[in-house]
């Protein structure tokens, strides 16, 4: 299992559009993924789950990824959080 923390760069936080993109990205991997923000946890395959966490800009979230392709998945999320989420 890999755990990795990311800071949400989008000032508006985890809005529906980036959250949708994240769910779509997660679906491309076999690994099981969880998103943690403080006390709250959601599976990364649930848009409703992610949105209802109310993640704000500047907050740090943690991903937990476990599965055969977890290395690839983390690399993909590195790119996603570094670039993608900034532009929304």
């Amino acid at each position: 299992m890999i755990k990795k923390a990311y800071t949400i760069l989008a000032p508006e936080g985890m809005h529906a559009r980036p959250a949708t993109a994240m769910v779509k990205l997660a679906r491309q991997f076999k690994a099981v993924m969880f998103l943690k923000n403080g006390e709250k946890t959601s599976r990364l395959n649930s848009l409703i789950g992610i949105l209802s966490m109310g993640i704000k800009g500047g907050e740090t979230i943690e991903l937990e990824i476990e599965g055969v392709d977890e290395g690839d998945a983390v690399a993909a999320f590195d790119v996603f959080f570094a670039n993608h989420l900034k532009d929304w």
């Binding site: 559009r17 949708t20 599976r43 395959n45 649930s46 848009l47 409703i48 789950g49 209802s52």
Partner: protein, 538 residues
């Protein structure tokens, strides 16, 4: 009939009426396991059918619309939704349709209870998705196959997917009974350049399918089965409008420079973050007036500092670094806020309002100023006090601001230390003492709407004397000139944010008086720019 014009243009077409359908639970109880499995299968098929429809719509939609639909597809595919619906069918032995209605409602509650306004609004997306599946189960055609022709959609209000899902080729306008400038129908209408009228009360009762409907997206006028004569008038108007639009569109990216080379700043008056986008589309170079009243209206308690920060921040983030002038609370007996317990007054316009309330209820004022300052790091903002009538009031308002700045500094909270502070000139006493006020502020903005009513002693809400309300009265114009000249003399910029600023008939006159900053509703910008491009400034 009349509503509010929310997207300009004239549309003539036949009515495509969408009457609201309420999803009621049937209360049916499933009596064996086979029935349970059948309902689960029914649910899965309905979801996949809804997804297929949405994906087909996405393929036809423009990018912004496709994104909205993409979010809905994800919601439909959400495993949490599926788990809860199938779980409920199994455990409570209810039909698929009932389970969907119930789960949707529960999920909506989760979002309605959230603090963030954006997240609260996501409840509508959940509802939309739930309704979509229910409509598939009810055997209704979700994609709404429209026959060929020009249709005007008439509805109570439209959800995002309903609006986006309408056949773009065949819809030529929208009329909604509810809604307003910021409803989905209005936003999509403007996006597609289709005329739309909102808040047209009673329209659903008055119209039948296929009636001929004419709508004017500027005046808000809606005609049902008009006479041949009326039709001809509107066809002419429609043609003239299209021609005019073509001319104005070419001006969008041009700077407003007079024939003698003077650069004029055209700004927008806005009230929401969505307005900001429209303002930029029309070529605004910033915001000359951000009204903050909406934040305080239609609720039962004062907005918290956090809520206010969120709002200002949202506007600033969309402003592309252009200046945004935030006017502090401008409210009084005419727009009462029940939770403030303001007494009804005989003369609300001469009464306890705007800065007068703020200097009395310093708690409200300080919260707003704190929020404005905290948000100031997200863009280029300016603070503007409304209804200043004397130097004393300005000095006191500035003292409160200074106090808030000290607090923030002490707490180590970042804000724009250089934030410009200006005032509205809308009370005659302020206009007449502009020379005394100028040294104490960074800019003036002339509010001609109130200035006119105060100078002429004409209540602008009183329809009986509406004809006396005239911003071109020499008394008003003399004061305007006086304020502009005092600003020039004392070296502070003077803008105007009243109706007069957006009136193309006044543009040359105001240029001649030395006005260089005009702030108006976004739609007026191209028209005023057109006049500026062919006028001299000096």
């Amino acid at each position: 009939m009349k509503g509010i014009g929310v997207s300009q243009g004239i549309a003539i077409g036949r009515a495509w009426v969408m009457r609201p359908k309420r999803g009621h639970a049937s209360g049916q109880v499933l009596n064996d396991l086979a029935a349970v499995e059948r309902e689960i299968e029914i649910y899965r098929v309905a979801v996949s059918e809804a997804v297929t429809t949405l994906e087909a719509m996405m393929a036809r939609a423009v990018k912004a619309e496709a994104e909205i639909l993409g979010i809905q597809v994800e919601l439909l595919l959400d495993p949490q939704m599926e788990e809860e619906v199938t779980g409920m069918i199994r455990e409570d032995r209810v039909a698929a349709r009932d389970a969907i209605l119930k789960v949707t409602e529960q999920l909506m509650q989760v979002f309605i209870n959230m603090k963030d306004e954006y997240m609260r609004a996501r409840a509508a997306d959940i509802q939309d998705v739930g309704n979509r599946v229910v409509r598939v189960l009810d055997g209704e055609d979700v994609a709404m196959q429209m026959e060929e022709g020009e249709w005007i959609v008439v509805a109570e209000d439209l959800s995002p997917s309903e609006t986006v899902g309408l056949d773009a080729e065949r819809v030529c306008g929208f009329v909604t009974q509810a809604g307003g400038v910021t409803s989905h129908a209005a936003i999509v209408a403007r996006l597609r350049g289709l005329p739309a009228v909102a808040a047209c009360s009673g329209v659903l009762g008055a119209v039948a399918d296929r009636d001929i409907v004419v709508l004017d997206g500027v005046s808000g006028e809606v005609l049902i089965n008009p006479s041949i004569g009326e039709l001809q008038v509107y066809r002419k108007k429609q043609k003239a409008f299209a021609e005019r639009l073509r001319v104005l569109e070419q001006l969008r990216d041009r700077s407003a420079v007079t024939t003698d080379g003077v650069r004029i700043q055209l700004l927008a008056n806005i009230a929401t973050a969505e307005d900001m986008e429209q303002a930029l589309e029309q070529g605004a170079e910033g915001v000359g007036l951000l009204r903050t009243e909406l934040l305080f209206m239609d609720r039962d308690s004062l907005p918290s500092e956090e809520e206010q920060v969120e709002f200002y921040k949202r506007v600033l983030l969309r402003s592309n670094g252009l200046p945004v002038t935030i006017r502090t609370l401008d409210i009084g007996g005419d727009k009462p806020l029940p939770y403030l317990g303001l007494a009804e007054e005989a003369n609300p316009f001469l009464g306890y309002r705007a800065i007068r309330i703020c200097l009395d209820r310093v708690d409200i004022f300080m919260t707003q100023l704190r929020a404005i300052l905290r948000a100031s790091v997200f863009g280029k903002s300016r603070v503007m006090f409304p209804m200043i009538g004397s130097l004393d009031e300005l000095v006191r308002a500035k003292a409160v601001l200074a106090e808030v700045q000290r607090e923030l500094r002490a707490a180590g909270i970042a804000f724009d230390e250089e934030i410009p502070v200006g005032i509205m000139i809308e009370v005659p006493s302020a206009a007449l003492t502009a020379d005394l006020l100028a040294p104490e502020c960074d800019f003036f903005s002339i509010g001609t709407n109130d200035l006119t009513q105060y100078v002429l002693a004409v209540d602008r809400m009183n329809v009986k004397i509406a004809a006396l309300y005239d911003s071109y009265h020499p008394a008003v114009l003399r004061l305007v000139l006086e304020v502009i000249e005092q600003g020039l003399r004392q070296g502070i910029p003077v803008g105007m944010c009243g109706e007069l600023a957006g009136d193309p008939r006044a543009t040359e006159l105001l240029l001649g008086m030395g006005l260089r900053q005009f702030s108006m509703s976004a739609n007026s910008i191209p028209v005023v720019k057109e006049v500026i491009l062919r006028s001299k400034a000096i």
